[in-house]
Symmetry: none
Subunit: 212 residues, 4 copies
DNA sequence: GATGAATGAGGTTTCATTCAT
DNA sequence: CATGAATGAAACCTCATTCAT
């Protein structure tokens, strides 16, 4: 068992990380509320209860804060996909689990979902196109473990001539779409019954509309 | 038969509309290239080969230009969906046709697709959330004619407890996702074989992954 | 008696003057409504029912329109003062008449009064100070005929060491102040009883508060 | 006796106020020189020796700067009127003192006088007319203490059927007119002998031209 | 003479980032 | 490390004036 020694240095480190997290949480809230370009560092700082300048001791720029939020999110979702694939014995089970867990995750992190829905593709980078490609690459990563387990079950066959990973990506995009829809719809996302929804789209994906 | 008289007034009107279109086209290009916030009126004007002030004789603001582009696009897609539903004899045919035509439309209007993929949710409105709801409502409109024909075929039954229009929306979102994917992928959107792609997702939607 | 010949040229001339007047009237209205800087040529033109460019066939600039209005006004008031002095047999009568007629004039030309009250000193000239002096010189001109008749009655004596024309100017400024006050006050200027008001300030001027 | 502790916070506060004042002074100068619409923030900032953006850390807009200047001025003049009324034993003495002190005040604050003379009525508000009424209400406030002491002396009688406060306002307007006149006249306002001028108009006001 | 589209200089305002305290 | 005042580049938009038709 690892022996943790609380040297002053370690405390410093921990406090630093805690404050970094506070800033990220504050920023997440403000981005979700105002949208990236309308969000000002002034307001983020006020929400985090720091002075504007302090933010720059933790992040190099507004952009970096935003990218960190998105990266964290994608990591989380990637983890969900990994776990779903690893701990399931069939593709159907894995996909169902991925959908359910993702729904739950976003229900618990509504703000982050808001940001991703609106801002994911709006990073203010020199080369927007490069960024878009990057995002889609991450989506492929997320779909990969799901594709992998599906692959096995289909014994290497393609679906309608398409490689399996593209098909898995479709599923991922459907999940995302349902989340976003709920977020901006009359019914609160909190009322979303994760398991019901997950079953629906898994059923559609595996059996199609006509074969229920 | 109506005798068209080209009065000066009519000519003025026509020229005005033509120039409005030129501006919209130029703006579409710049928005697609730079993204909405980095797109400057300076550049839009230069691209349209007008002076900055001239733009304001045709549109009240940068925002208005953007909304016009989006509105036009949604109208076009809505029209595609309507036509597909009206001129098909089965749901499967209608969905296939909608997918094919939408693919073709975006292949011919790559810039517009770029804008929508990135900017649709970023209209700079006071109340971003209200706007999001509006966008989703438009999506429902687009899905409506497809839902309608599907409804008939399913004889009023629901799918896994979900109303048919939500299911139709899923299809629409899949189509959009495939378009965006192609746009930012290594393979140019021009190489996309609309018919092949459309067949794939229609097959998936109606029969599922397991029943090909 | 002058024989007026209505040659085509004269008609042109008359029509031109009439249109000039229409523009001045429209401009007077818009200036009064919006204030000089918020007034746009667009709106002046629309009010006059001409196109924007047409205005420039009659006036060299927005500024010139404004100066013409002010000049016309000052000429009118100067005429009132002249007449009052010429047709009165005593200073008291002359001042009373000047006040009464000026009140009547502004009641009939409310818009012009509004402009003068707000804009007189705001001509957008290179040298504002020179302009201010010019305005005050005009005020002296207006006061002059009144000063003249007062002078006679006072047999060359000064009032409290001040030259008579400065005293007359005070009276003129009091009249103007009462007009402006009424214009922006709850009671409409239309309800102003010119004769009553005029008697009050004339009484004050000649006999003072204590000697009624 | 209070022990003043100069905490950093207090120092910050003081410096902030000092800089606010510097900006107001610079703006006053530029407004007086150029007039409100020709005054640019560029020049105000340069005069105050700050960057343009810095101004906006102290005031929300050009308009707000202007209104602060005017409000401060009106407060000062109101204070003069209050003091004059409170510390005088007769109306004549109060009016004389008000006139003298106002002359002195404007001689020491020439720039502010310039602004008020030209700009008072040009505040760029939606509803200019509402603003004009507001200004006239302030004038009434200023006249109020003077009216009050005059009232007592006249034992409730009206003058020529007019309420006493309207009469007091006339006096205030005469004072203002003499100030403006001097400002834009050949003789510098610095040469104005406050006491002489004040005596003249007080004499006129109380005894009239004919009874010296 | 009348029209109205085109012009473009110039203004106000925002806000991410820096840096002295 | 924390602070918040200072910065200044950029952006959007207005509108008087010109000029080809």
């Amino acid at each position: 068992m690892t022996q943790v020694i609380h040297t002053p240095l370690a405390r410093r480190q921990r406090e630093r990380l805690a404050r970094r997290r506070e800033i990220l949480d504050a920023a997440t809230h403000v981005f979700a509320e105002r949208g990236y370009p309308r969000a000002t560092l002034e307001e983020i700082a006020a929400t985090a209860e720091f002075a504007k300048g302090t933010i720059y001791n933790y992040f190099r720029s507004k952009e970096e804060i935003f990218r960190q939020i998105v990266t964290d999110l994608l990591d989380d979702v990637l983890h969900i996909a990994d776990t779903a694939a690893k701990e399931s014995s069939s593709a159907r089970e894995a996909f169902l689990r991925y959908a359910t867990d993702t729904f739950d995750y976003f229900r618990a992190n509504e703000d982050v979902l808001g940001i991703v829905s609106r801002e994911l593709f709006r990073l203010e980078l020199e080369d927007t196109k490069r960024r878009m490609a990057e995002i889609h690459r991450r989506a492929e990563q997320i779909a990969a473990p799901l594709a992998c387990i599906l692959q096995k079950e289909m014994r290497g066959k393609r679906f309608a001539g398409q490689p399996v990973d593209e098909i898995a990506e479709l599923f991922v995009s459907i999940v995302h779409h349902r989340c976003a829809k709920r977020l901006f719809h009359k019914k609160s996302i909190r009322e979303l019954n994760s398991h019901e929804e997950a079953k629906t789209i898994t059923l559609l994906f595996f059996d199609g509309v006509l074969h229920q």
